[in-house]
Amino acid sequence: MILQTIIHLLLVSQFIYLLNLIATNLSSMFFILFALRDMMLSYFTERSNLIQNYLNSQSHLPISILVPAYNEETTIAQTLHSLLNIEFNEFEVIVINDGSTDYTLDRLMDEFHLYPIEMPRRLPIPHKKIYTVYHSHLYHNLVVIDKENGGKSDALNAGINLSSYPLFCTLDADTILNRDSILKAVLRFSQDGTTIATGGTIGILNGSALTPKHTVIRHLPRRLIEQMQIIEYTRGFLAGRTFWAAINGLLIVSGAFGIFRKDIVMAIDGYRHTIGEDLDLLIRMRRYCYQENKPHRVSYLPDIMCWTQAPSDYPSLLKQRNRWHRGLIETLYHNRSMIFNPKYGVVGLVTLPYYLLIEALNPLVTFVGVISVIALYLFNLINPDTILLFFVLEFVWGIALNILSFWLEIFLESSFKTTEILRLILTSMLEPFYYKPLIKMEQLIATFTFMNTHWGEIRRHQIHAQKSTFSQKWAA
């Protein structure tokens, strides 16, 4: 009797695993095809002179750029130089040194000639103590806040309190922004008054070089782990987010680059202290808008807005993915009342159920499914040919999706050489065999440890300036 129950359970879990696999891959395929449509639109409209005319009119909304920094001495100066050169008329950059234990603050003081300013401030959103606020002798629009360590969300709350403008942009300290990114994003807020947040595609900086004018010259990174992430970013983030934005169900605006309306963020008391602060903030913003009956939209720009360093070693990558998955589960748990709740429209009925059933539970379902397939094989209840074919199907499907999504990447940024493209196609074929299982394993661990609020540190590398004569030509 017990054995029969176990067998029944194994069969059910194996069935759920197959359903989950089909749902995941079908949704990925749909997202990719949908993203292709949006990217073709973007391809034809990006050369329009609307953006330039808008910039010249000076009618756009001013913006505060918030850069939380914790032990970022290697990258912070480069990030700020790229930021202070963006094409925009009225903006301020606020760096929040969140109790760094390295020389982040000293580096900033030296590079930007900072001096302390003791102006009294209104601090409506609570956060850890601010020690000193600095201004720069070199840039009138640069503010540096030195505060007690409180985590990224706490640092961002301090930045929001001290910001002067109606929109704010959050950027990671290792992010290099494209010169026109802010302008393109702010135009979305202007064109549609109901926009409460905008995100954009993030390019992987690893392997690329910077020109003296802080623009990125793209190269394929050398390590396989970095190449895998290029494909993953396109497949997982670009394609999915383009679709969700189109049906106004987008819930994630990456912490590496996101623009938000300050009044809505202030109304919900800023960031909550959580490890998935970007997802959490947007869900709470949407919840607030639904509750207050405010029409709202979260948009997404498929063009590459900024460049960030992806983890280049396995421990850092696994830590990051563990944190992301814990953040997802924790946020879904915190906002559980919204899931399957028609009061919250598309978000409650489509997006959140998708994130719960397809994203959050996927590692667990996969793990239980694989175990049950193996157990059924041991009980001699399943044909080994069927098992083999199922796994071949999963890998082939995965490879097909990778190749298609990789081509989306080429649509976005065609600066790879032919040899690099071929290498990336080969990499995309390897991904289902070792990268995906590895990530799934880490997500499984995260599923059981989601109460842990530790961030984990990721090793950063200095971004190398281009040394070839090509960069000198570029600079000229």
Binding site: L11, L41, D385, I403
Partner: protein, 370 residues
């Protein structure tokens, strides 16, 4: 359960899985081939457009600056988009604008592109033609754009159509119609105030001053809702023509009970560089928050940054609103007003409030900013 067991060992299922694998393999390669094909086709198309655009740019420059007649005979149907893009990239000078507007009418360039738009079935082609139309420095088919806006719910189409529509506006009656249309549309699709301001700026910037005056009179005789007047007032500040301060002062007189409009007028006057000390003097007595915020921010721009102006503005250092205090502090910093002057003005105007903690904290901070 047994049926699942039976199913997963069934030869038909195995056959099905094999066929699915083959399908996905095929999908990967066909999909890749299609994507490569699309990418190459788009690249070739845009390269050829760029090449023809270069050609027409030089012709347009000869036509505009060296008075060499425009060579209509060289124009083919393939040149409509390159020519439109070449026109869109020319510097925006009023003299050019008039000539280009006439040229567009002679060629019926906008009409041809509009026909192409109507014939297109694919959405991205429609967007391509519409965004090209929007790039034209002037256009003569406002009804076409109005129809698009009224007949679609797609925000991308609407945004390009409304921008293109703003470029058709060249005189006061057209401007009145445009404002009425914006009002009607604004409620439907929630365009942001900044974009509304930008559209009005685009519509106004190449108009004759007499048309601007006529439009301003219409605005005062038939006032639309307040937020639209604010958009107009703010766009005046972007246009920066000699007639603008006069128009703004008329609006100030007509709509003085409205605090938002008055605040907008003060900001726009300041951005035009107009010096309006008497107006500032009166408005600093107003108790409404938007006016206080505006006066604190641009008071020193609107009048001369002298001690007497500071005496009018000093009350804002003691305002109950944080943003008012912060604005006056930043304004004084911007003009390098000395700490001594601020303290003297405070002593003369607000002697009872000198022990205000916030003011004293700000004055301490001011030492660092010198």
């Amino acid at each position: 359960m047994d049926s699942i067991l039976l199913l997963q060992n069934h030869p038909v299922l195995i056959q099905l899985i094999i066929q699915t694998i083959l399908f996905f393999l095929l999908l990967a390669f066909i999909g890749l081939a299609i994507l490569i094909g699309i990418k190459v086709a788009m690249h070739l198309y845009l390269t050829s457009v760029d090449k023809r655009k270069e050609f027409w740019s030089s012709h347009l420059i000869n036509y505009l600056y060296y008075r060499i007649p425009f060579e209509f005979d060289k124009l083919s149907t393939y040149d409509l988009i390159p020519l439109a893009k070449a026109m869109g990239e020319l510097p925006e000078e009023s003299s050019n604008h008039q000539k280009l507007s006439t040229l567009i009418a002679e060629i019926n360039l906008d009409g041809h592109l509009a026909r192409r738009y109507l014939k297109s079935r694919l959405f991205f082609r429609k967007i391509h033609y519409l965004s090209t139309l929007a790039e034209l420095p002037a256009s003569h088919i406002p009804n076409f754009y109005r129809n698009i806006i009224e007949s679609t719910s797609n925000p991308l189409l609407i945004q390009h159509a409304i921008y293109a529509y703003s470029k058709t506006v060249r005189n006061a009656p057209a401007m009145n119609r445009f404002i009425l249309f914006l009002l009607k549309y604004d409620t439907l699709a929630h365009i942001g105030r900044a974009y509304c301001r930008f559209l009005i700026y685009v519509a106004l910037r190449h108009q004759e001053e007499r048309d601007m005056e006529a439009f301003n009179q219409w605005l005062m005789d038939h006032p639309p809702e307040e937020r639209m007047i604010r958009c107009v007032v703010e766009s005046y500040g972007l246009v920066r023509r000699p007639v603008i301060p006069h128009l703004l002062k008329e609006i100030h007189r007509r709509f003085s009970p409205s605090e938002e409009i008055v605040a907008g007028v003060l900001r726009s006057l300041a951005s035009c560089g107009s010096k309006e000390c008497s107006l500032l003097e009166k408005d600093t007595l107003r108790p409404e928050l938007p006016v206080r915020i505006a006066c604190a921010k641009i008071g020193l721009d609107l009048c001369y940054p002298s001690f007497s102006t500071l005496r009018h503005l000093i009350r804002y250092f003691f305002d109950k609103n944080y943003y008012v205090r912060r604005n006056i502090f930043e304004a004084c910093k911007r003009y390098h007003i000395s700490k001594y002057d601020i303290l003297s003005a405070a002593q003369m105007e607000m002697p009872d409030l000198l022990d205000d903690r916030f003011f004293n904290d700000m004055m301490r901070a001011y030492t660092f900013t010198r």
